[in-house]
């Protein structure tokens, strides 16, 4: 150790931090590509490390599991989507069902660009070995909040039963939305046909939350 080190104790830390941050970004970029081409099951930490050009050990100093890496990838990716949704939704008119349809259509169009990546995100929801820090599909707050907002407004407008358990409706919509992507696997469906199916499903759920006469 020399005097320079003692004299500037702040310096080595940021240097190490920025290096750590650079590693993080490389891992995230590599993982985004791999999850999008190989899916959740087909992607391993070892491949992510190789693709990012770093050692497996370095990946593990930053992330505990591949699920956690995927969570970071999705978080970064979904931020602009929810900024857009927040901007657009207040201007969307119509019934609660129609407002939900518009909101989900925006989602399908967005995810269609990297549909395998989103399906990896869904698949991770069924991997219960993930650490609590990971946020697979269904545990990301963004979508839940947007749906809940639409439903609360619907209650105010008399479109949604006041006594319904909103969380249950949110969960049903989350489930319908996620499993619609099954059609990508079974029929290679595009965004347009996914939206069509989702529109019908929303109609059916809306019958369930409509006020009773």
């Amino acid at each position: 150790m020399n005097d320079a080190d003692l004299g500037s104790p702040a310096q080595p830390v940021p240097a190490r931090q920025s290096q750590k941050e650079a590693t993080r970004q490389r891992v995230i970029a590599a993982a985004r590509e791999l999850f999008d081409s190989h899916g959740y099951q087909g992607t391993t930490i070892r491949e992510i490390a190789r693709h990012a050009g770093i050692s497996v050990g370095s990946v593990f100093t930053t992330f505990a599991s591949k699920g956690e890496i995927l969570s970071e990838v999705m978080q970064a990716r979904l931020e602009p989507l929810y900024a857009e949704i927040d901007r657009v939704m207040p201007h969307v008119r119509g019934s609660t069902a129609d407002r939900l349809r518009t909101m989900f259509a925006v989602h399908f169009e967005f995810e269609a660009q990297h549909v395998r990546l989103f399906m990896s995100h869904i698949a991770a929801a069924y991997d219960w070995t993930l650490p609590p820090g990971a946020r697979p599909y269904g545990r990301t707050p963004g979508l839940q909040e947007v749906i809940r907002d639409v439903l609360v407004k619907g209650q105010a407008a008399g479109d949604v039963r006041p006594d319904i358990d909103l969380q249950e409706v949110v969960d049903l919509l989350l489930s319908a939305y996620a499993w619609t992507y099954r059609l990508v696997i079974t029929r290679e469906a595009d965004a347009k046909s996914l939206i069509k199916v989702m529109d019908r499903q929303i109609g059916l759920i809306a019958e369930g939350f409509a006020p009773r006469n």
Binding site: W128, T186, Q201, L204, I205, E207
Partner: protein
Amino acid sequence: MKHISPTQVAVDAPTRAPTRRALAKQQTRLKVLAAARRLFSEQGYEGATIRDIAAAAGMSTGAVFANFTDKSDLFREIMADDMEALTAAMRDAAIRGRNVEDALLKIFMAGYTFYKTRLQLARAAFSVSWDKDGGPTLRGMSSSTAFQDLFGEQLTAAVERGELSQEAEVKLRSQMLFDTYLSNFPQAIFEGWSLDALQARARDQIRILLAGARRG
């Protein structure tokens, strides 16, 4: 060289020998399947290798490959067995339902109860079902489609009984019920919800999904 009399050959060769071989092959298959099930259950799908499975079954990897093309083939076979058993259990449960809502609820609960003891297999099944390569095959198996059809059968029967309207959109509605059944798995199994809590949630979900069909 061992001497074989002509009569022995005549008796053994055409009838008993192929049967014995077929039986041995069948036994090998069953042994491999049992070992694979145990390893998938203990170590998960990704964690178990064909080599481990062969060792656990007490045979060579060559013997495993003579019966199954690869690990996913083995896994599908196990899933098919389970889905057939579960479909039968669900059908039995549904018969005891007082009405369509109750029958569906019993179907849901039969599934959650079944997989409570097969956590790793459930996890692997979900993982494979969303996989680009394994997904289409797993979802297209006859045991998978028969399993899904069960939900539609309940709705069709309810329409026939006059419990649900003729315009019940059976296909879409049964698909959504099936999706909802699957979507509860993270809570049902991975988050360790009690069966009572799950039942209350599933009942509400089924009510919401059936609401539109009751009015018609």
